[in-house]
Symmetry: C2
Subunit: 388 residues, 2 copies
């Protein structure tokens, strides 16, 4: 087991009506002047934005609305938000939405107190100081409500890059009402499920040994997701199933599945290039990337893939490579069963430009990437080809 | 799933040499004048107290040593500590030890800023304000390093009572070096293992439905403990095994195994009476109580006991009661295999005064206790008899 620091001070308020506590939680976190961030019209139509605004009004919290944040969020909205915060002297942010809205809020939070270009944080500069961020979660997927990370795409060159902080960008609070997820379209629900599973697997496929406790927790969260996913697909208003999926999405990415080990994150990096170039849904892209990455590994370093197959999917095969391949088949079948693509073609990318993807991947991430096993451009090209 | 709030701001610094960070973590937590709490001579002999003191010295943190805290800690030490803090104007505490030292530090932390008798907090008063507490953990068992709880025995009448807070008494930081646990005596190691398993099971045996994610996490932690326990018993200096057990002890009790459901805590309450009257080791007492409680439940409400048997111990029996009984047998065998008692006699209590235990239990906890199933004095007497 590797040495680690685990520090997750986010206060999760989970359950029916959670969003109505936005006012009191904002005050408890010392938020008085807030940029209220959201995405498209669904936050308005569903009424959640109104309820949050009402809660802030009742608590006497001043706020400025900032909508129109798109999926795969881009740097232009971050610059715009920083500008508004400075102009209106806003000192906190509340994000109402999913990962795109939260990540934009985090990037703004880091950018406001920084004199330089916020993009510096996405190219290596450490975030020392940031405005406090609160979250009202409406899409369980990215896990950004409990993480210190954010992913933003630079429009100029379509560089989709993430920042990771231990602490500075963790939300102060996350209000999580599973009822808000009842109306998510099936494809978005399923993509969110693939995203949270990937967050666990990026941590699970680790070169570190002797981390049984973290393996077991990770396997437990994966099993819960796999058991609950068919229920939310079949009955979108199944409260308990939605609640299980929502909380799983947080545990998948708040670090509890990664304590004491090196992580991988190759599949995310590979998917980010696909999203940036072809605009696909991140989670759906991951459903295509992950089985391909695992297939590549099954031939070279199958032990952990086999453990995954046996413990998560109950595969009984004693040969590591065969068990791994069987587990990958079951994972692909699972993705298929909830309506997700598992090939480029199913993802709607008929003729992917693999050379471009590989080029951009290694431009952004360096010549060699990966934790479970180090990969060069030749290796990642082969993995992209396994998605055809 | 029930609504819940989950807020665990403790910063865990885990790994070799963690205790050497006491100075910098104290400063980061704003601690300048510290009551440095510890138990017997082992903290001195092992050198850990010296290393912590050196780290505090190097960081310029002022401290007063406060030793002699006993297992099953009592109120007299709390009064003494409160007195010293007030006299010496100490505004923070660092506990070097296990649950007894940490719980005493927490009770002092609550008592110092309170004008009345600190015991009020153990009889219902809410802790609103407390001095900050830091921890250097040397015994993985009680989970107090990550919890908001404390258990203290009142010498007058031997009332062993716990306080539970959501937040106020959670340690600011916990420094966790598995190497510090290499020298624990086998019986203490094993008792700690039973204690942490009990913390999970008190949460697992819940009347709440639809909490698959929390069940799966709890089962995962239990499985990790059961797998790693024989390794630490066989080779006390197996770093990875000790690390797995140590981190499991934190996850067992920091709330992650309890999100979204009502909890039980009958077995702890029943054991606290045994400890208070007969002075036995808490964890060893739990190894006696829990299988008896489960046996009582197997006849009346077996479903969750059967799920435990199947998922944690791999029992394949399809009948709930039979599966439950098989699981209980395997749990008792596991406890026996690591040298723990499973009856009163093995615990060293040849002729327990069950009437007294039942009387004190319900005096302290009320006429009806329990979450998984409500129990009267008649029921708890039967459970105590199942330990004979």
């Amino acid at each position: 087991m590797e040495n680690f620091t685990y520090h997750t001070p986010t206060k999760y308020v989970f359950g029916r009506g959670a969003e109505e506590k936005a006012g009191e939680e904002a005050l408890a976190a010392g938020m008085t002047d807030v940029l209220l961030c959201y995405g498209g019209g669904s936050a308005i139509r569903s009424g959640v934005l109104g309820r949050v605004a009402h809660a802030l009004d009742s608590a006497g919290v001043n706020y400025v609305e900032f909508g129109g944040i798109q999926p795969n969020p881009t740097d232009d909205k971050v610059y715009e938000g920083i500008e508004i915060c400075r102009r209106e002297r806003l000192t906190a942010l509340i994000a109402v939405g999913g990962g795109s809205v939260i990540d934009t809020a985090k990037a703004i939070a880091a950018g406001v107190p920084y004199e330089g270009d916020f993009w510096d944080f996405f190219t290596g500069r450490k975030v020392e100081k940031a405005l406090p961020v609160g979250v009202v979660l409406t899409i369980p997927a990215a896990g950004s409500e409990g993480s210190g990370n954010a992913v933003i795409t630079k429009l100029d060159g379509l560089h989709k890059i993430s920042i990771r902080t231990d602490y500075a960008l963790r939300p102060k609070f996350a209000l999580m009402n599973p009822e808000l997820t009842f109306t998510l379209p099936p494809y978005q629900t399923a993509s969110g499920i693939a995203d949270m599973m990937a967050h666990i697997m990026e941590r699970y496929f680790s070169p570190s040994e002797g981390v049984e406790i973290t393996d077991r927790v990770a396997e437990g969260v994966l099993k819960a997701i796999i058991e609950e996913a068919p229920k939310v697909m079949a009955r979108p208003d199944d409260y308990d199933a939605r609640a299980n999926i929502m909380w799983s999405g947080t545990l998948a990415h708040n670090g509890i599945c990664g304590t004491g080990r090196k992580e991988d994150w190759t599949s995310h990096a590979m998917e980010h290039e696909i999203s940036a170039v072809y605009g696909v849904t991140h989670g759906a892209g991951l459903a295509v990337v992950f089985p391909a990455w695992m297939t590549y590994m099954a031939d070279r370093q199958p032990a952990k893939i086999a453990q995954f197959a046996r413990r998560v999917f109950g595969v009984e095969n004693h040969d590591d490579r065969s068990a791994a391949m069987e587990g990958i088949m079951m994972l692909r079948a699972f993705y298929g069963s909830i309506g997700l693509p598992v090939t480029f073609a199913e993802l709607g990318v008929a003729s992917p430009d693999i050379d471009l993807l590989v080029k951009k991947l290694h431009e952004n991430k360096g010549e060699r990437i990966g934790g479970y096993r180090t990969l060069t451009a030749e290796d990642t090209a082969e993995i992209y080809r396994l998605m055809l």
